[in-house]
């Protein structure tokens, strides 16, 4: 009887909830719809003066309007519009019309007629312009409706002759956005007077107002963007605009010329005042190059940027951009670059320059000198020397793009790029170093160029140095002197900035493996070996010595004769480094010695397949073994997990997959173990202790599933389903455990309901994937859903329990590419015995430097956690600018964390310290202590869940699952030794 009663209560309760929800929704609709327009109407009628009306309109514009009520509002606005005499109010109404017609879900074709109507009687130019703007909004909302577009274009053409530039501007904008694309087709069909939109717009290139000219060019560009092919005739018109008086016109004209040159690169244009003809793209290139020395820097930036994307230009023209004929007193002079090259080729490199060294040579024919080069001459020389760094950066970027597509140009622009390494603005220097890296496979550095490049290694900016290391990693050096020079400079760099250690070692690793033959003759010198005498053994911990060894060992990898030159201690050091710095020192085949890693032969490639196979096989074995007895299953799982983990350590390529699968199996193992517990049959009071294990397992599974979901990049929807399914099982387990351990039924109601909501949510989110989950826990659960909804908690728990035990083990499909996110804190190193001293009460900045691998969107997810000795944790959000992206999948976090002494000398700390109060003051004498720093990966579960349309539709989705936020630690914690000093009084 009691059970029956409870059931009824439960039923009623659920019903009530649903009704409430419906009611709320209905109410909402009823309330909002009429209120908006009606209120507006009342307000506007109340308004006694234009200023009042304007105020009401402004207030009204602050709140959004629902799609259903837009039309009503518009009608009221229009009604008021006709009555209104004040232009400012009409202007506001017109602007509201435009805003309203942009409302999503509202189709503005019904208000178009009215808008066009009021346009015809409008006298004020400003209002007219605003109305045209509204029409533009309407037109862009209805891109499919050809008739409306035609009509709007007609209206625009009619008002093009207006005397106000604002109106003409808007008309041109309308034409640009709505001008029909398939002109001939629609004209034939409708029999309207054909309008050549391009010609109409083109006529306004010579408008008297510069703003209108700009608008006309922009409209033309808009047409192009919408896919209309511009006529070639526009090219000549645009060229004339290049000498316009106004910078915005010139800037837009440069763009237009660029567009046309991309459309008709191969057509031929005549050169004025001569009989010759050249390709259009070359001509345009020359013209844009000329704009690099324009008077306005906005135009210069624009021109320099566009140059980069003109790849079809002929190499002859391209190379001219770096050409500047020097002369002095009418005599030809060589540039410093040419002289450097000559000096280098004559073998006289680095001789000091003498007075008169740059003395001009041959006489120049005065007639032949052209001071204003038509064409591309020296465009980049000018751009790279520009006053504004924006122009210089744009020029460097353009150089980069052009050099990537033309190896010969890359070789030529090298000198100029190297020069940019000494720019006064760091951004420019950095940009040019990056550029050089990007084109590095096309170039080989000459020694004198290398010299200049290496000089920058002493730069005090860490970014610059690291960018330079990256550059050196992929640079081709031509001579052994070059390698030596690079090594010497890098060691100098190391001595000056010891923090660059890792970056330098890495750089030398690549330098060595790229140039084995160049390193070979340097080996005796570098190792300071002597043919007869034994030399002293260098210090193994010296970073500089390690750097040299990294270079040599990496070169030795592909140069089998090299190890013969090593002395005994070198081999010992090799063994040591191979173990301690295995990522920098490759496996070598050493003659006459027990091969350190005999397994690794030079051809590693075939080895990958077996390990892949092994992975597949072991996983398949697990998936097929689900029906064995629990004991066997457990063991097998344990073995497989161990295998996978080891495999991940051995094979870095498979680490992601192996870890991912191992984690999944671990979850399954935990689940099986938990279910194996005998607690299920024992009475509640007895298994209290044992239940710890089950609830801990549930908790751990939850954690692991979050890790699986958020710590791996490349996880697809298939996997997400399985992960969520696993989590659901964990939740079920948790529910069962709680049900068993808690006395009384009341708390269970809530829990059961929550769980069922989650099941419901799971179903809704992954409805598409449900067919794949046959026979699984959730599949069975959903079958029983109606029954569960009406059951009381105890019954639910019972059902869940049986289902958990019966559920099969789901096969986890392996994703294509999966990588585990990882982070390594490089700085602080955590080995220092010297405490970081600072005055208590003030903050100290701790430099944190970490590399992040395979983290998606690190700016928003990566946090720094500081754990103080008293257990307080502080979470720090690094600035987005602190993240750098040196390569795909890799990020670098360089930030500062502020520690403060008061942050942990809370009560507990003070109490502990209380005994050690100094005699002279009330300040505690503070002892050094350790602070832990680690990186966290923050996640938000709603981010991953696929959005189904009806969730957006406003239906109330369960609050439980949508936004669980949490963090996963993903780096080893590093201890920092700090010592606050008492403040001086």
């Amino acid at each position: 009887m009691a059970a029956h009663l409870k059931k009824r209560v439960y039923e009623e309760f659920t019903k009530v909830v649903q009704q409430q929800q419906e009611e709320i929704a209905a109410k909402k609709l009823r309330l909002t719809k009429p209120s908006k327009s009606a209120a507006l109407h009342i307000d506007l009628c109340k308004a006694t003066s234009p200023a009042d009306a304007l105020q009401y309109l402004l207030q009204f514009a602050r709140k959004p309007v629902e799609a259903e009520s837009v039309e009503g509002v518009v009608r009221i606005l229009l009604e008021h519009y006709y009555k209104e005499n004040d232009a400012s109010v009409r202007l506001k109404i017109a602007s509201l019309l435009g805003l309203l017609s942009k409302t999503s879900g509202f189709s503005p074709d019904c208000i178009m007629d009215d808008a066009i109507n009021i346009l015809q009687n409008e006298k004020s130019h400003q209002v007219l312009a605003q109305l045209l703007d509204a029409l533009l909004a309407i037109g862009t909302k209805l891109p499919e409706n050809q008739a409306i577009q035609m009509r709007l274009v007609d209206v625009a053409c009619k008002h093009l002759t207006d005397t106000s530039h604002g109106v003409r501007n808007k008309c041109l904008q309308l034409l640009g956005n709505l001008g029909s694309l398939e002109k001939s087709v629609t004209m034939d069909a409708e029999g309207l007077a054909p309008r050549d939109v391009q010609k109409i717009i083109g006529d306004y290139f010579s408008d008297q107002d510069p703003r209108v000219r700009t608008a006309a060019i922009k409209a033309m560009l808009q047409l192009h963007e919408r896919g209309l092919k511009l006529h070639q005739a526009i090219y000549n018109q645009a060229c004339k605009l290049l000498s316009d008086d106004y910078e915005q016109v010139r800037s837009a004209a440069v763009q237009l010329i660029w567009v046309v040159s991309q459309l008709y690169p191969e057509s031929i244009v005549p050169i004025p005042s001569s009989n010759e003809e050249i390709r259009l793209v070359d001509d345009a290139f020359g013209k844009i190059c000329h704009m690099v020395s324009d008077g306005s820097w906005v135009v210069r930036v624009q021109a320099a940027k566009l140059l980069g994307s003109m790849e079809q230009v002929s190499s002859h023209f391209l190379e001219q951009t770096l050409d500047k004929k020097l002369m002095s007193d009418l005599r030809r002079k060589r540039t410093a670059h040419e002289r450097a090259k000559e000096l280098y080729s004559s073998g006289e490199f680095s001789s000091g320059r003498k007075w008169g060294d740059d003395a001009p040579k041959e006489e120049i024919d005065t007639g032949a000198v052209n001071l204003i080069e038509s064409g591309a001459c020296g465009a980049f020389v000018h751009g790279l020397e520009d006053e504004m760094f924006e122009v210089r950066i744009a020029a460097v970027e353009a150089l980069c793009m052009l050099a990537q597509s033309s190896p010969s140009f890359a070789e030529k622009c090298l000198d100029f790029l190297v020069d940019m390494f000494n720019d006064e603005i760091e951004e420019v220097r950095l940009q040019s170093i990056h550029t050089m890296r990007k084109i590095s496979n096309n170039i080989t550095l000459r020694e004198d160029q290398l010299d200049t490049v290496l000089a920058v290694l002493e730069d005090s900016s860490r970014d610059i140095r690291e960018a330079l290391h990256e550059l050196l990693c992929c640079t081709n050096v031509s001579t052994k002197e070059g390698i030596h020079l690079a090594l010497v400079e890098l060691l100098k760099n190391l001595a000056k900035y010891p923090t660059d250690r890792d970056s330098i070692w890495k750089c030398l690793k690549f330098l060595g493996s790229r140039h084995p033959t160049l390193v070979l003759p340097l080996v005796p010198e570098l190792l300071s070996t002597h043919p007869f005498f034994d030399t002293a053994e260098p210090d193994m911990d010296d970073p500089a010595y390690i750097a040299v060894l990294v270079l040599i060992f990496n070169a030795a990898k592909t140069c089998p004769t090299m190890p013969a030159l090593f002395s005994d201690h070198t081999f010992r050091h090799y063994a040591y480094l191979r173990d301690s710095l295995s990522h920098l020192v490759p496996a070598l085949r050493l003659p006459g010695r027990k091969l350190v890693s005999s397994a690794v032969s030079p051809n590693i490639v075939p080895h990958e397949d077996p390990s892949q196979q092994f992975l597949q096989q072991s996983l398949e074995r697990v998936y097929s073994l689900q029906h064995l007895d629990p004991q066997g299953t457990q063991e097998l799982l344990e073995f497989t997990i161990r295998d996978l983990q080891r495999l991940g350590e051995l094979q870095s390529e498979l680490a992601g997959v192996a870890d991912f699968s191992a984690t999944y199996l671990q979850c399954q193992l935990l689940l099986i173990k938990a279910l194996q517990e005998k607690l299920w049959n024992v009475a509640a009071p007895l298994y209290l202790k044992q239940s710890d294990l089950a609830s801990a397992a549930a908790k751990q599974i939850m954690e692991e599933t979050y890790k699986m979901e958020f710590m791996y990049s490349g996880v697809e929807n298939k996997q997400v389903v399985i992960i969520h399914h696993m989590r659901l099982q964990a939740k079920a387990l948790q529910l069962i455990v709680t049900a068993r351990t808690t006395r009384g039924v009341d708390p269970l109601f809530g829990m059961c309901e929550k769980f069922l909501q989650e099941v419901d949510f799971f179903q809704r989110c992954f409805i598409a994937d449900l067919p794949h989950l046959q026979d699984s826990f959730v599949d069975k659960l959903l079958d029983l859903m109606p029954r569960l909804m009406t059951s009381k908690p105890a019954e639910v728990v019972k059902i869940l329990q049986t289902m958990l035990r019966q559920s099969t083990f789901l096969h986890l499909p392996l994703p294509e590419q999966i990588h585990k996110a990882s982070a390594t804190i490089i700085e602080p190193a955590g080995e220092s015995d010297n405490p970081l001293r600072f005055t208590s009460g003030l903050v100290v900045a701790l430099d944190v430097d970490a590399t992040l691998e395979h983290v998606q969107d690190p700016q928003s997810t990566v946090k720094v956690q500081v754990l103080y000795p008293d257990g307080q944790a502080q979470m720090i959000h690094p600035k987005p600018a602190d993240f750098r992206n040196p390569g795909p999948g890799r990020h670098r976090l360089i930030t500062q964390v502020y520690l403060s002494h008061t942050a942990w000398t809370g009560l507990s700390h003070l109490a502990r310290m209380g005994r050690k109060m100094c005699s002279w003051g009330s300040y505690p004498c503070l002892e050094p202590c350790q602070v832990e720093v680690r990186l966290l990966l923050a996640y938000n579960s709603s981010a991953r869940i696929p959005k189904s349309p009806w969730i957006e539709g406003g239906e109330v989705s369960p609050q439980v699952e949508t936004s669980i936020e949490g963090t996963i630690p993903f780096s080893k914690p590093v201890k920092v030794y700090i010592m606050p000093k008492p403040a001086r009084r």
Partner: protein
């Protein structure tokens, strides 16, 4: 019409030094720069001001004086001119020039009077009095000198505060560039001018025949040399003149030291530099982009690494860099230091500019290794000698670029050598198709200008014209009929009716009549009919009528026919039209003169 008459006054013409140019624009006389010649110690060092007005006061003749920048060859004669010759009118210069100019003048005076003991030189008080007459002009500020004359300053980038000036009277304008630099350097930006289309551009042409290499190579070389020397423990001596280039080099070294974390000390020999540096710190807005943008964090002229030099420092061990004056190593501190350091091959001297023949600087640059000093000492030069040219004048390309930016009608070259200017002149004429002049000292060039005269048009007339035809088309000229009224030097275009009304005149009718002889044996009536049908067929869009009195009208043109008194076979057609219908009337006569088509009968 108005004329422009620029006259290079005893200097500036085809010469470097003593810049002084007199320009008359539409009756206004302006003197541009007032420089002195460093090479002379007698009267020739100042321009010959008696040339301007043979008799009479300068103040009455000159409307204003404009100084482009603080170099002595552009402002050195100013106190002499204003206080000793006597000029009380306004002197215009930019604020940095106004601040630094007196320091340099005072320094110059000290050397001339105190060291060389010259008499008849201006005094400190005269410099002060002279500076009181100065009016500051800010960049792009338009200053009305009087009702008609206005001047405007543009950035020139030659030294701190250097400016180009536009002088405008009515619709006529002249731009004077002073010295300028089109490539930015470490502390100054590039010269810039808007497209002001002056009637005349007066530009310097120091480097008329030179196209320079990129600045970066020079800078890099310089820094590399200094760096290498300092690294191997050597000392670097850089002889400089106190202002201008010295600051650029300081900034260059300062930022390099900062970037490369270098520790070796840099010294600057004191003197007027400290005062000048102070002004460089103040006038941040006149420097380049980098310094302007970063000065909120740190003023680049507050040097961290550069300290004041003391005589005793020269003997300190270890590396150092010293900037010392003067620049040509002919005297003073730079020579003293040079003598101390010359014997060590680790050391280096870098000459950042040109050296006059006869100075120590010139000798060592030309490779001399043994120098005879006073007292028969022989100094052996073991230290390295380097030459680095840092110059802040526009090269030929830069000059062309500026002309392209300003689009002048005429160009006048000054401040350069005649032979080089000839080349540039030819290039300018060839490439811009503008006239180019290069007057010698004392020579006057007179340029005719075609001033544009604004004419007011009455709204009624304009509207009537608008109503008649299509909208005005920018590409095509339109014919418009009206009456031009010139009254009190202002012009108006009004309709003829209004003109008549205003002037109180009666309207006169002007009628043209013309007789056309036609060979036609038929009767007059028939001839008229034939004429009528002929015209009707040709002039389709005109109103052709046959009146009952036997005449034909086309619009307001009347055609009557009469038999010839002597020859009955010939008819005389009388065509008569008013002045307003001149076009149609003459067309009709020419049409009728061709005769009538043969009648079908």
């Amino acid at each position: 019409a108005a004329t422009l008459t620029p006259t290079p006054r005893a200097g500036a013409g085809q010469d470097v030094g003593r810049s002084c140019i007199l320009v008359s624009v539409a009756g206004k006389n302006v003197m541009l720069d007032c420089g002195m010649h460093m090479g002379f110690n007698d009267d020739r060092r100042f321009p010959d001001f008696s040339y301007i007005t043979q008799n009479g006061r300068l103040t009455d003749f000159l409307d204003c004086v404009i100084i482009s920048h603080f170099h002595l060859d552009h402002c050195g004669a100013l106190p002499y001119f204003s206080e000793m010759v006597g000029y009380d009118g306004p002197i215009y210069m930019t604020p940095p020039t106004q601040a630094i100019c007196p320091i340099l003048l005072e320094d110059y005076r000290k050397i001339a009077v105190d060291k060389k003991g010259e008499a008849n030189f201006f005094t400190s008080q005269m410099i002060k009095d002279c500076m009181k007459k100065v009016v500051a002009v800010h960049l792009h500020q338009t200053v009305q000198v009087d009702d008609e004359l206005e001047i405007k300053a543009y950035y020139a980038g030659h030294v701190l505060g250097a400016a180009m000036f536009q002088i405008k009277v009515g619709s006529e304008s002249v731009v004077y560039t002073g010295d300028y630099n089109m490539t930015p350097d470490r502390h100054l930006g590039a010269a810039w001018i808007d497209r002001c289309r002056p009637n005349l551009l007066i530009t310097e042409s120091t480097y008329a025949t030179t196209i320079r290499d990129s600045k970066r190579c020079r800078e890099r070389d310089f820094l590399k040399k200094v760096h290498e020397t300092v690294e191997r423990g050597g000392k670097v001596l850089i002889p400089v003149f106190a202002l201008g280039r010295a600051q650029e080099l300081c900034i260059l070294l300062e930022t390099f030291w900062e970037r490369m974390n270098l520790k070796a000390p840099i010294y600057f020999s004191t003197g007027l530099t400290e005062k000048a540096n102070h002004y460089y710190k103040l006038f941040i807005t006149w420097t380049n982009q980098k310094i302007r943008k970063t000065f909120v964090q740190r003023n680049m002229f507050e040097f961290k690494h550069i300290k004041a030099f003391d005589r005793a420092f020269a003997d300190n061990p270890g590396p150092m860099v010293v900037f010392a004056t003067p620049g040509m190593l002919h005297a003073g501190q730079s020579l003293q230091i040079f003598r101390k350091w010359a014997g060590n091959e680790k050391n280096m001297v870098i000459m950042p500019g040109y050296c006059v023949q006869g100075t120590v600087g010139h000798k060592i640059l030309s490779g001399q290794r043994k120098l005879e000093m006073e007292g028969r000492q022989v100094l052996e030069v073991k230290m390295q000698v380097e030459y680095m040219s840092f110059s802040a004048h526009a090269d030929a390309k830069g000059i062309m670029q500026l002309i392209g930016q300003a689009e002048p009608e005429h160009v006048l070259l000054v401040h350069g050598e005649a032979k080089k200017m000839e080349f540039l002149k030819q290039k300018i004429e060839q490439e811009f198709r503008v006239n180019c002049y290069m007057p010698a000292n004392g020579e006057t060039v007179t340029l005719p200008t075609s001033p544009s005269i604004p004419v007011g048009i009455s709204l009624g007339l304009l509207k009537r014209e608008m109503a008649q035809g299509m909208l005005p088309d920018a590409k095509r000229p339109r014919l418009l009929q009206g009456t031009l009224i010139m009254k009190d030097s202002n012009f108006r275009l009004v309709s003829s009716e209004q003109a008549l009304k205003e002037l109180g005149l009666a309207e006169h009718q002007l009628r043209f009549t013309c007789r056309v002889h036609l060979h036609d044996a038929r009767k007059e009536q028939e001839t008229v009919m034939r004429v009528y049908s002929h015209l009707k067929s040709i002039l389709k869009d005109h109103c052709v009528q046959h009146l009952p009195d036997g005449s034909v009208t086309v619009e307001s043109i009347l055609i009557q026919a009469a038999a010839h008194s002597e020859d009955p076979g010939t008819k005389v057609l009388l065509v008569s039209w008013t002045y307003q219908d001149e076009e149609l009337g003459s067309y009709l006569t020419s049409l009728l003169k061709k005769g009538l088509p043969q009648a079908p009968s």
